[in-house]
Amino acid sequence: MKINKIIVSFISAAVILLSTSVVSFAKVVGDKIVLGAAISLTGKYSSNGVHTQNGYNMAVDRINSMGGVKVGGKTYKFDIIYYDDESNPKRAAQLAERLISQDGVEFMLGPYSSGLTKAIAPVTEKYGVPMVEANGASRSLFTKGYKYLFAVLAPANLYLDVAIDLAVEKNNGKPVTVAMAFEQDAFSQDVRLGVLEAIERTGSKQVIDDKLPKELNDMAATLVKVKQMKPDVLVVSGHTKGALTAIRQISEMKVDVPMLAMTHCDAAKLSKQHGKNSQYALCASQWHKTLTYKDDFFKDGMTYDADFTKEFGYAPPYQAAESSAALLVFKDAFERANSFDQKKVRDALAATNMQTFYGNIKFAEGGQNVDKPMVLFQVMCDDGGKCENKVVAPTKWASAKLIHPIPSWSQR
């Protein structure tokens, strides 16, 4: 059989291709500290993936231009190797493996979303590669006993429970009825658990508990139910698409609900895309530009906002801010460890206690940031139709008063 020859030549071609594609980097080349990151440049998380990447790049440029990282008396600069994980956990795990075993990366930055972080964490843990992540908030990430995972953000269950408390408070301390609609993914389901706990704590009642599909484009069925049941609070979480879909359909169907609590409003640029239709939406956020935290690199939130807008042409959502903060944490840890030994850097990371423009950062045993509360902002529009996000809770940071209940569509 001559066909064997053909097959053999195919296999040898494959071998040659494989061997030529070995490109080797080292973690510290010359004066560069090479970090690895799998980012969702395509797929359902692509918009947030880009926010994350912009946040990383912004911080890399800033730190490099302001003197870099000083370790052992030498100055180093940050560099990041990016891959596209296509918003797919399987791909993300593969890429983490690839970054570590093929590209020789010894320090990692996180991907976007809890699901992808969940897929990457076992890999970084296996190789003992410290990973500072800024976009994986699911609580189950922090209960697996991971030693090399550090998250600069507050866990997902704290996103919207405050909203329930707020609704109860506005209802003179009496329990409220809550309608919930959450996407079927790791992050949103964790937000749901937090809301459920708050419902139980306040003695409130859930009247709708819908699971929405990924790639969320339609939630009309849920909204019809909301129209019928007239709950006091409607909670929606489904990343950027969820926020956009909710506002689009609520305004189309003229659904009246006293309080609408959501996630990802700023990442979805709601106030810009939907203008007045998004008015009064209450949104959970890790960060807001008016918060008064400070650091040496970005000064404060307002300056970060201005610099970021100048560089990328849009206002930074919190996903970008927290991603920038991840690099500040890495820089701080490298300098304190004064070494590139992975164990020493890991220990230095664990001992982090610092303030950045994004907030205070201090890691608990499980790796989550325990020193930074969530904020809630409300979309508020002036008569000219210009909308802005204003922090309404907690009171310490509030720059505006919560408008409650939301006026009905007939009065708007």
Binding site: K2, I7, L17, L18, A93, K126, Q189, D190, L193, K214
Partner: protein, 350 residues
């Protein structure tokens, strides 16, 4: 088996065994390649030999993945507590537990999908052509949505499979999964090759070429169609079980019932290599995987465009796949007798 064949098989086998040591950094990609070849080869039983374009094989793959992980956890720990998202407890498998669990898990991952294939096959293999394709397309989508709602396997939160225990060195995990997938690949190959050398393959071909005629000849086509699908399900389930452990995290629609990627890839690979041949899917999967990994490295952000171009090129220039193209070009190498006069006459006609 003739001498040339033997040399070829020994060559591939020794390459397979040496590969993880020759390319230690590529162990994961090599394991995935093995899984892809298994999927393409088993899809070929339906799509290539039997002429039934199934998009439903992903169902067995995902089912195997969830089953293997669930059994591996459930044998030693309460599954509900493992998958509970806010769970405070950390369970750790001892090495013995991990491997025992994996072994039993893989067994279940192979057997249950086979049974499921039998049951579903009985009801839907009566459909033909486009109707069958659309129906099976629905199977994978439905399974993804349903499993995304089952709390005990993590629902939308996903399912973290047991981490590899602390045995050997850093390389052990990669080597374990590579050899596991390589062994299953060999088993698949032996099984499929065995089947293709029997009357069974001829019956499948008869179904493809003219099902009514085959039936009129007294062949119980339904029986053979179901058995063929069960064989595919058996190996797809195994492949899924391995992939779950390899990835370490199971998501209902993105990893397990990943019809959009794996489900389509298995069809593409078989077509690229040449469906209806033994070696076609294997070559197709290898070429596809290498191209894909290359695109993902060198065309970052454009990888799907590049992949799209590849698909277009395949469809236009190699409609019969690589094997089909080779067969047309060098028919004598495939053992076909070519009449020189006839060939000349054809050339003149052109």
């Amino acid at each position: 088996m003739n001498k040339n064949n033997l040399i070829l098989y020994i060559g591939i086998l020794s390459f397979g065994i040496a590969a993880p040591f020759l390319f230690p950094a590529f162990k994961v990609q090599l394991s995935i390649l093995c899984v892809l070849i298994i999927l393409a080869t088993t899809w070929n039983i339906q799509g290539g030999e039997m002429g039934y374009n199934s998009f439903g094989n992903i169902l067995f793959y995902g089912l195997g993945m969830y089953l293997c992980a669930s059994v591996q956890v459930g044998m030693f720990f309460p599954l509900a507590e493992w998958t509970e998202s806010g769970g405070e407890k950390t369970f750790v498998h001892t090495p013995a537990q991990f491997f025992q669990g994996m072994a039993v898990g893989l067994l279940v991952a192979a057997v249950v999908p086979t049974i499921v294939a039998g049951l579903i096959g009985y009801s839907i293999l009566g459909l033909r052509g486009h109707y069958f394709a659309i129906c099976t397309l629905g199977l994978g989508v439905a399974a993804g949505e349903i499993s995304g709602g089952i709390e005990i396997i993590g629902a939308g939160q996903g399912f973290t499979t047991p981490p590899f225990p602390d045995v050997g060195n850093l390389e052990s995990r990669g080597e374990f999964f590579y050899f596991l997938s390589f062994i299953v690949l060999i088993l698949t190959f032996i099984a499929v090759r065995g089947i293709y050398s029997t009357r069974f393959k001829l019956i499948l071909n008869a179904i493809r070429d003219n099902e009514d005629k085959a039936e009129a000849m007294g062949i119980q086509t339904m029986k053979y169609k179901i058995v063929g699908w069960m064989i595919s399900a058996f190996f797809c389930g195994l492949a899924g079980g391995i992939m779950g452990g390899l990835v370490g995290y199971i998501d209902s629609t993105d990893v397990a019932f990943d019809g959009r990627e794996m489900g389509v890839f298995m069809v593409l690979m078989a077509i690229l290599g040449g469906k209806g041949t033994l070696w076609g899917p294997i070559i197709g999967a290898t070429v596809f995987h290498i191209f894909k990994e290359g695109f993902w490295t060198f065309f970052l952000g454009w990888q799907y465009v590049a992949l799209g171009v590849l698909i277009v090129v395949i469809v236009i220039y190699f409609p019969e796949g690589i094997m089909g193209w080779l067969r047309e070009k060098y028919p004598e190498r495939f053992g076909e007798v070519v009449d020189e006069k006839d060939r000349k006459a054809q050339v003149e006609l052109k």
